[in-house]
């Protein structure tokens, strides 16, 4: 149920993001979702890709500081209040969300949101117990 997310440390200087995307492209890796958080000095790029192991190795070899983090890919009804419903479920069980970002999907009735939470396993239980679909790894990489 847990999906591997690649995190890359980027110094805020021109050309770094371009370099990451170039390396991924030349290794035949497709980006499924991404988000960047930054301060004035540095940023962290978070990626969901079709082949996280290859992406990790390729970026590391190119000298980037990379880590793999487990996150959840959650199906959220693509209607007003859809995300609010999921948040309410997690909130009611005291599960803290570190960050989240949306996933680009084609031709699906639902939206996909990536959640990074402190207690992954418990979050899965809680979500599934509330009939919220958490995608498994293979499904996400194949999207």
């Amino acid at each position: 149920m847990k999906v591997k997310q690649i995190s890359v440390f980027l110094e805020n200087k021109s050309g770094r993001l371009a370099e990451v995307t170039r390396i991924l492209g030349s290794n035949n890796i497709n980006i499924r979702a991404l988000s960047i958080a930054d301060t004035t000095d540095f940023g962290i790029l978070r990626l969901i890709v079709n082949n996280p192991d290859t992406a990790y190795t390729a970026l590391r070899e190119a000298g980037f500081m990379v880590s793999v983090t487990e996150v959840l890919a959650v199906e959220v009804p693509d209607t007003p209040g859809g995300l609010a419903g999921v948040m309410a479920v997690l909130g009611s069980q005291g599960i803290n969300i570190e960050y989240l970002y949306a996933f680009v999907t084609k031709a699906s009735a639902d939206a996909l949101v990536i959640f990074r939470v402190e207690e992954c396993d418990r979050a899965i239980q809680v979500l599934q117990g509330n009939k919220i679909n958490v995608l498994d790894e293979a499904e996400v990489y194949a999207l």
């Binding site: 440390f9 980027l10 110094e11 301060t39 540095f42 000298g63 980037f64 500081m65 880590s67 983090t69």
Partner: protein, 429 residues
């Protein structure tokens, strides 16, 4: 005004006679009382009785920061500790500070020397003098404090920091003399303006600035912002602290109190003395100090000596403003810090790689230090919070160990230049 006309305006012949007598006594005392100096003199085959003229000084051994470190804390003291009434310390190049001591008579000498420099800057008993140096181990505040009291000035020991309060005190107490680092004087003027106080409308008329080197143009900037006369003074704790030399109102260099300190300028590489007018490293020998005398102490400060009699009437040799350093010491907001100290702090922090770059930005009123470090890739969790915590811990350690506030910047692994030496590790913005 000339505080001690007899000594400050002494003719050369009398001065040199006085210096020679004191030098002989100094070397005798060092030889009898301080094993380090006895060994150093023995190694050169020099006995105290061999000193017959001031020229013989050039045969004497030098003393350096390393000697102070090796004899930490009291090894170079020439009196027993019960005769020492005060200790001060400055930062050493690594870990341990440099400790210096004063007898009661040394404190009296120091007070007289400061009375000379404040008088030559025009400060009198009519002045209200605000001392914005940190009262503590550094010599700046206590040094100036007693000499200012000696001339009868009203001393406001406001210490360093707390800028808003400094401005309030200046307004309310009618401060006329500002004692600080030159960079703090600029910062204070800007802060006053931001607080709606026009510095030129305050009572201030003169500033005595020291603790860090400053340029003529910085002096003019301070003078125009405050509408004051900015004077420079020089000293270092190993010699006595502030009071070694100070500028008179002629603004033509800093008068060295030569009856207490023998000044030389040497070529830092060959260690040969250089003639007047040539730029080199300042070397001082203390002629009268009891607790912590030094023989040919290498300051690492670069300057030029000028023996011409000054228009003010003082006959002492003048040194120009310090023109630089022979080592890599940095001065960040008046705090001396060596890259080696920063390095040892960085090495003690888990989670960063052993490579760094120091960037000193001298563009603003206060020198800014930026420390660039690479996070250790093996501890990268991908969490923003962890990186911010790492940044904060580096900043805190630099603050608590070295008393410097630095901006810490995390950079990508393996992007900082790898060099064996540290010369490439400092940049100036």
């Amino acid at each position: 005004m000339i505080w001690d006309r007899e000594h400050e305006c002494m003719d050369r012949e009398s001065l040199e006679k006085l210096q020679l007598g004191r030098l002989k006594q100094l070397v005798e005392r060092l030889y009898q009382r301080v094993p380090h100096y006895r060994h150093a003199l023995d190694a050169r085959g020099i006995l105290p009785k061999d000193i017959r003229s001031l020229e013989d000084l050039r045969r004497m051994p030098f003393t350096g920061k390393d000697d102070l470190r090796q004899n930490y804390p009291y090894g170079l003291f020439a009196v027993p500790l019960d005769e020492v009434v005060r200790l001060h310390a400055s930062s050493g190049t690594t870990g341990k500070p440099t400790v210096v001591g004063y007898t009661w008579r040394d404190i009296g000498t120091w007070t007289e020397l400061i009375a000379r420099i404040v008088s030559q800057a025009g400060v009198t008993s009519a002045d209200v003098a605000q001392v914005c140096f940190s009262y503590g181990l550094f010599t700046g505040a206590f040094g100036l404090h007693y000499g200012l009291e000696k001339v009868g000035a009203t001393v406001v020991p406001s210490s360093a920091g707390n800028t808003d309060k400094q401005i309030m005190l200046m307004e309310d107490f009618g401060t006329t003399a500002l004692i600080s680092t030159p960079s703090y004087a600029l910062y204070l003027a800007e802060a006053a303006r931001e607080a709606g106080v026009e510095p030129r409308e305050l009572n201030l008329k003169v500033g005595l600035f020291g603790g860090e080197p400053w340029t003529e143009s910085m002096g003019r900037q301070i003078e125009s912002m405050w509408g004051i006369k900015a004077t420079d003074n020089y000293g270092l704790s190993e010699v006595i602290g502030p009071g070694v030399a100070g500028e008179c109102l002629e603004g033509a260099g800093l008068h060295i109190s030569e009856d207490h300190f023998l000044a030389e300028v040497i070529d830092p590489d060959t260690e040969e003395p250089l003639p007047y007018g040539e730029k080199g490293e300042l070397v001082f020998t203390t002629l009268t100090k009891e607790a912590f005398p030094v023989l040919r102490y290498r300051t690492r400060d670069l300057a030029i000596l000028d023996p011409e009699v000054c228009a003010c009437g003082r006959t002492s040799v003048r040194m120009c403003k310090v023109m630089g350093r022979t080592d890599d010491m940095l001065i960040i907001r008046g705090v001396n810090v060596f890259p080696s100290q920063i390095e040892s702090v960085l090495m003690s922090i888990r989670g960063i790689a052993p490579h760094y770059l120091l960037i000193v930005d001298t563009r603003g009123p206060l020198n800014q230090l930026e420390v660039q470090v690479e996070p250790d890739p093996t501890v990268f969790t991908g969490s923003f919070r962890d990186l911010e915590a790492l940044e904060a811990s580096v900043r805190r350690r630099l603050q608590s160990v070295l008393s410097i506030s630095a901006r810490v910047k995390l950079v990508e692994p393996k992007t900082l230049e790898r060099t064996a030496g540290k010369s490439k590790r400092i940049q100036t913005a």
